[in-house]
């Protein structure tokens, strides 16, 4: 057909481990097996990545589902065709300088008064942090100072400079911070199953595309989904950990292998492709709690395009 | 457009090329300030060589600028060159400014040839002409120097050569020999007169040197101090070519010299012969 063997350009909204299935499908040749020539590019956050999708410089994008809901709510058609990572792979961690003045095992309530870093204001990490604080009975606007910092390298630096006490990380950064530097300690490690339920089995990052692309290249999209589903199966098999570390190192050449290993081991079970209607509810809950969106929630048919998963044998 | 020199000498007044009537120019922003030129009238015939003398700051350069079409100030009166009103820069006018105005990034020879370059003359031709003029003003050997490497008088001579290079119909010259020593001045004046006598271009020469005016011009206009006006006009009756030593000795020369000198003098005698 017209798009067989076609070139497919996939963007990842951040250089992150949540796109591990893409790296695996690429490096283990699953895309090639499907006759696809895939090119992966990285962005600095959801907005430019989605812009690239809509502007036509990429065909598919790995971005947070929450991101898509916001876009949909503004009347732009972006569809999720696959769940890349089902659980939020984040963690709330606290720096040793704070712990020095607050002895005892840290919990969320003990962070009262702390300066806590998130990524950009209104982004996923920010919303997750607010949710966690609220869930523990703290008012995120009064009981703590939330400081948006644009990247975790800067979070580490700012904490080192004494301007931060805690941070909400996403993988692999909490592993770098806690296990790697030894200067941080977990408060809530969502990747390990701690924290509120909204972060579990909730479509954290999904593979999204534009209706125009899906209409013109249905077969390519189906093949991509098929290859990624296969890759996710590969990831979930604990025996493949060492191979996954090697694959991840190609994308994170400067990150230490032990860190990658620990991070992947924690989250490999979350790379599940299935999309379920209640995932929309969970994301909406988070968004509504942060007043980032207004009711009503969109219908699953508005945001999901499930035929590709079905074709790949997932439901 | 050119007359033979004989014909030109006969009818300078019948065929005025430059006509100024009641010219009034002021620079000040406020109307109350005295104008620089007020009711100034003059004419220069085709092929005539006219000298303009007057006290420093009286507006001689301003007159030349006006004729050249460079004045940007409030101006009134009538001003025509070759029958055309001067509302822009007219072609065929060469103007040697009071300051040399050489382009600092061009060597001497490239400064001299620039007028020809602008007219699109091929490189070899214009270079030849420029080198020839360069020799005539006594700058041989300095063709590849930059203006900053020249002495004051050498810059002035380069500026003269540049003005002559384009062979203009009308020549406006503002103290073209002022920075030259007496001997070099004679040499260069000589070169200039030689050039002039070939085609008898119309020349309006501003000078401070009465000897220069008397030796070179057909007619001398004397300007008053501010506001500038033509207060007196002298025909210079000497035959051409003129011999300066012989001229200086003649009583008519001395008489004319003293007359003009007295016209220029604002007041009474000082111990050193200057008004206080």
């Amino acid at each position: 057909s017209a798009d067989a063997g076609a070139k497919v350009r996939i963007g990842s909204s951040v250089r992150s481990l949540f796109s591990l299935p893409l790296y695996v499908a690429d490096q283990k040749g699953y895309f090639k097996e499907e006759g696809l020539d895939v090119e992966i590019s990285f962005f600095r956050g959801g907005p430019p990545a989605t812009a690239a999708l809509l502007g036509g410089s990429i065909d598919l994008v790995a971005a947070s589902f929450e991101n898509q809901l916001k876009v949909n709510k503004r009347g732009v058609g972006v569809k999720t065709i696959l769940n890349l990572q089902s659980d939020f792979s984040g963690a709330l961690a606290v720096h040793e300088s704070w712990l020095a003045g607050h002895p005892g095992k840290p919990d969320v309530r003990s962070l009262k008064g702390a300066r806590i870093a998130t990524l950009s204001r209104g982004g996923y990490a920010d919303m997750a942090l607010r949710y966690i604080l609220q869930d523990a009975g703290l008012d995120p606007d009064k009981d703590a100072t939330l400081i948006p910092v644009s990247g975790y390298d800067k979070v580490l630096a700012a904490a080192q400079a004494g301007e931060l006490d805690a941070a909400l990380f996403v993988e692999p950064w909490q592993t770098i911070a806690v296990e790697g530097s030894g200067q941080w300690q977990y408060v809530v490690d969502i990747t390990r199953g701690q924290g509120p339920d909204v972060f579990k089995d909730m479509a954290y990052v999904t593979l999204q595309s534009s209706p125009a692309y899906l209409e013109s290249h249905p077969q390519a999209a189906a093949k991509v989904v098929k290859a990624i589903v296969k890759a996710q199966g590969f990831i979930r098999d604990a025996q493949h950990l060492e191979e996954l570390v090697q694959i991840a190192q190609r994308v994170f050449p400067d990150t230490d292998a032990g860190t990658l290993r620990a991070s992947i081991a924690k989250q490999e079970h979350t790379f599940r492709p299935a999309l379920k209607p209640d995932m929309i509810e969970k994301n909406m809950k988070l968004l509504l709690a942060n007043k980032a969106i207004q009711d009503p929630a969109p219908q699953p048919s508005d945001v999901f395009e499930l035929q590709y998963l079905k074709a790949a044998g997932v439901n | 457009m050119r007359d033979s020199s004989a014909a030109a000498a006969e009818r300078p007044r019948q065929d005025p090329l430059i006509v100024i009537e009641d010219l009034r120019i002021s620079f000040g922003k406020n109307e109350t300030e005295a104008p620089v030129l007020d009711d100034l009238s003059l004419h220069v015939g085709r092929g005539e060589f006219v000298a303009l003398v007057g006290p420093s700051g009286c507006g001689k350069s301003t007159v030349l600028n006006a004729i050249a079409g460079l004045i940007d100030a409030r101006a009134g009166g009538k001003l025509r060159v070759g029958g055309r009103p001067v509302d822009a820069i007219l072609p065929g006018i060469g103007y040697m400014f009071q300051s040399h105005g050489l382009l600092p990034w061009r060597t001497v020879v490239r400064n001299i040839e620039i007028g020809l370059e602008l007219k699109g003359m091929p490189r070899a031709l214009r270079r030849g002409k420029a080198l020839d003029l360069l020799r005539k003003v006594g700058l041989a050997g300095y063709e590849n120097r930059y203006p900053a490497e020249l002495s004051g008088g050498m810059r002035q001579r380069a500026g003269l050569a540049r003005t002559l290079a384009t062979d203009p119909e009308v020549l406006l010259m503002d103290e073209p020999f002022g920075a030259l020593d007496a001997q070099t001045k004679l040499l260069v004046q000589d070169s200039f007169l030689e050039f002039w006598e070939q085609d008898r271009r119309t020349v309006l020469l501003v000078t401070h040197d009465l000897d220069e005016a008397l030796c070179m011009a057909d007619r001398i206009l004397v300007m008053s101090g501010r506001p500038g006006r033509i207060v007196r006009e002298y025909d210079v009756p000497f035959d051409r070519p003129r011999h300066i030593v012989a001229l200086r000795a003649s009583p008519q020369y001395g008489r004319l010299w003293r007359q003009i000198w007295n016209d220029l003098r604002p007041g009474s005698d000082s111990p050193r012969g200057a008004a206080k």
């Binding site: 959801g46 870093a117 950009s120 209104g122 400081i147 910092v149 644009s150 390298d153 931060l164 | -």
Partner: protein
């Protein structure tokens, strides 16, 4: 006078045409409101933000960062340029280091910047400062080198000390150069402040932009940008007016 008036009319026409075309393109569906917003929506949002009062706060924060950085950068740049132009040793010794350091892309230095100066005002100030200082330095230096040698000689013969030479000759001579670089530096200082705010901020136009972009709210991005633009433009006009006053002795007519 007529030329001035016709330029004013042309400007207005161009501005109205651009805005009109933009509004029409969105209204007629040629461009998506989601991505390009529209002048009407932006204006409405600005009004709303002004009513809400937050806009002035954020604007004040960003302009504060940018313009202190600008001021410090101009002073330091002019001083360095003078040093470079005048000193026999110190200037030429420092120059390659300044030039080399200046080529470092500031956006990439985030972590190190944060490590040493934190995420507060200082980081934004420093970024703005660092973008401003070298263009001003280079122009000051060239402005000094463009001095007429005769004027240098005149001043030295009149007994000018080295400091007086700077102060009374080289600085005024470099003034058109410095002012030109200051005009260019206005936008650089704003970029520096915004880059700093993107690294981390709790207020400022960069913060507003970050929030709006995270919410895919293009109108929300354009509204503060339009206000910022208006202020930067006003700053530029101030510099132009200042130039015209300081350089009133210059009569140019090309």
């Amino acid at each position: 006078m007529t030329a001035l008036r016709s330029v004013a009319i042309l400007r207005l026409a161009l501005a109205l045409a651009t805005l009109g075309f933009w509004e029409a393109a969105v209204a007629l569906g040629w461009a998506s409101e989601f991505w390009v917003s529209s002048p009407g929506r932006i204006a409405a949002r600005i009004v709303q933000q002004i009513r809400g009062g937050e806009l002035w706060l954020h604007l004040a924060v960003t302009l504060g960062e940018a313009f202190t950085g600008l001021a410090a950068g101009v002073v330091a740049g002019a001083a360095l340029g003078l040093l470079l132009g005048v000193s026999r040793r110190a200037g030429p010794t420092l120059e390659p280091f300044v030039i080399a350091l200046n080529s470092l892309p500031r956006v990439a230095l985030g972590p190190i910047l944060v490590l040493y100066v934190g995420i507060g005002f200082a980081s934004k100030f420093l970024l703005a400062f660092s973008l401003v200082v070298v263009p001003v330095m280079l122009n000051t230096y060239e402005g000094i080198r463009s001095v007429d040698q005769v004027l240098v000689h005149v001043m030295r013969m009149l007994g000018a000390t080295r400091w007086q030479l700077f102060h009374k000759l080289l600085m005024p001579n470099a003034l058109p150069w410095i002012l030109s670089s200051v005009r260019a530096a206005v936008s650089l200082s704003i970029i520096g402040a915004i880059v700093g705010e993107f690294i981390s901020a709790q207020a400022g136009i960069g913060y507003m932009l970050d929030v709006a972009s995270g919410a895919f709210d293009i109108t929300g991005m354009f509204a503060p940008l339009a206000v910022l633009m208006a202020f930067a433009f006003a700053a530029d006009r101030c510099i132009v007016a200042l130039s015209a006053h300081l350089l009133r002795w210059r009569a140019v007519n090309i």
